[in-house]
Amino acid sequence: MDISHREELISAYLDGELSAAEQQQVLQLLSEDEAAHKLFNEFQLLRESLRTLPAEQLNEDFTREVIERVKQRSPAPLQASLSQEVVGRSAETPAWGRILLWPAMAVAAAILLMVFYDQPDLSQHALEPVGGRKEESVARLDQQAQQSQQPQDEAGLKTERPTIQSATPSPETPAFAREDRNEIGPQTLIPSKAIQSPPRPLPTYTFAVRTGVDLRSQLDRILSHGPGREAQRSSAAKRAPTRTRAPLEGLVLSRSRQSRHDDRSTQYVYELEGDPRAIERSLQRLQSTGDFRLVSVTSLDPVAKMDSSSSRAASHSDQELAQASKAKRFGEKHRIAAAAPNKPAASADRDLAGSPRETKSFLELPEQFEGKGAEEASGAEETVSPAKSTYRVRLILLVKRGQEDSPQGQKRD
């Protein structure tokens, strides 16, 4: 060992940054070599000298001066974030920023479109983009809904009619579906007064999973994108629902699929976008089906501020948006139930086998959302159209391979 290396080891030993083997080496060196021991002591003295240098302090005015400078800054962090990441343009965004932003967003939109159209044949079932063919698809789906007889599902829950995107919500339509139909989607996304902006350039489609179809269909709907698969959709529609499952609603932005070799399951990762309350309820219902395990949910970011039609809602909206931004900023992950993505195979299988699921809050929603949810659960009539933020959410689902590969929900094994 050369001298320089020995000295470096002693220096790192002082810092506690050695591996166990290296530590042993240094300890032996220090006990045998006087020069090494002397150097160690000198390093220690040096440390002490540096650490006992008088602590310097700034005067009391310093904080005030910083705050004054900060207050002159506009936009505030939150506004800046919204203008750049969410809306694309705001009053505070300088002209050059807009010029730079639009080409970038256009490229992003093009990429997303390519991805959407490139999807394999996963859209075999009723999958309805909000734009374009909305009325047609609504009529067809409503017709299908009429044909199904609201059977009881395995859990004894009353079947919800497969109503999606109908122009006038029927009393049978679940409350969350009514809300989302009216308020989510590119056509209904109205910029608030606070954020005067053009429509978001992302090609967003609202997909609502019809009830009463098998798991694969549900997943396929979540995974599939893009219009132009009418034939597949109508054939899927013929495979009438035999069993009720909860709808999962949201704008699907991306998905990926990864087989897990250690067990008989596949992991899906989706990015959804939508009203957090609707997503929340959907997740709870999906969790309760027991066919797959929701491993984790990540709140990515709030993506837009929806229109509000009342002052109460508007006043809540700003707070909601501010609070919602926190999730993004700290990349908060909310683990679901006990399983982690790298959970051992056997354990994951047990979870997939489906004991009654614990229902808990998946998204860390602002209090206003939670309060609202409670109101709705107790059947209180909604008189105010709520202001909303949309959330972008990443879901990681673990699906039993047997179920996933089996059409119509018939398990192979």
């Binding site: 040096l46 006992t52 008088p54 310093f62 207050k71 962090p77 501010a322 926190k326 700290f330």
Partner: protein, 192 residues
């Protein structure tokens, strides 16, 4: 091996959240909490109280503007320090130091009074001046790594993050910095 610094503390998290929600006073709390530590460190790096003060002030303003990019995956002070370090380097490139770091006095307030006799206090002040002069005589790369380790107590991993260097380089550079510092102190003591 030393573990990395813990992630953002609950207290910092609360203040950051409130700031992002529009509460400027919460940012004031953040400033108050970290300003002196950062100033002390910047002073040791630059040797000039004025320069250090400017750097710290600019750092907090930049931090406010960029606060929404803070992901909470690192300690807030580490994040802040990175901004401060970059700010200091930019300022130094713009204007070379007007004061020689070797000449600089041990700036700032009085040494802490721990019930010491005046002559003890004086001796301590002399020693502190010698240390500061030795520190100022080091090459910037050595001074930086030494301040990060000894004054701020950052782990090698954090230092590597801040300086954008491999951990192995941090280790060897720190060793060379200590050796050089030792030589400088010896030189100054002989001179005095």
């Amino acid at each position: 091996m030393k573990t990395a610094m813990p992630r953002v503390t609950k207290e910092d998290l609360r203040m950051i959240e409130n700031t992002l929600a529009g509460d400027t006073e919460a940012f004031g709390e953040l400033v108050e909490k970290h300003q002196n530590r950062l100033y002390h460190s910047m002073l040791r790096l630059s040797g000039s109280p004025e320069e250090a003060r400017d750097v710290v002030q600019d750092t907090f303003v930049r931090a406010f503007v960029k606060l929404n990019t803070f992901r909470g995956t690192s300690n807030f002070y580490t994040w802040l320090y990175r901004i401060a370090f970059n700010t200091a380097m930019t300022q130094r490139r713009r204007a070379r130091p007007a004061v020689s770091l070797e000449q600089v006095r041990v700036c700032g307030g009085e040494p802490e009074d721990r019930g010491e006799q005046p002559d003890q206090r004086l001796a301590k002040q002399d020693e502190a001046e010698q240390i500061q002069r030795a520190l100022g005589a080091l090459a910037e790369e050595h001074r930086t790594v030494l301040v990060l380790r000894e004054i701020d107590d950052f782990s090698y991993e954090n230092i590597a993050q801040i300086l954008a260097l491999p951990v192995g380089t941090v280790r060897s550079r720190l060793h060379r910095a200590r050796m050089r510092m030792k030589e400088e102190i010896e030189r100054i003591m002989q001179k005095d």
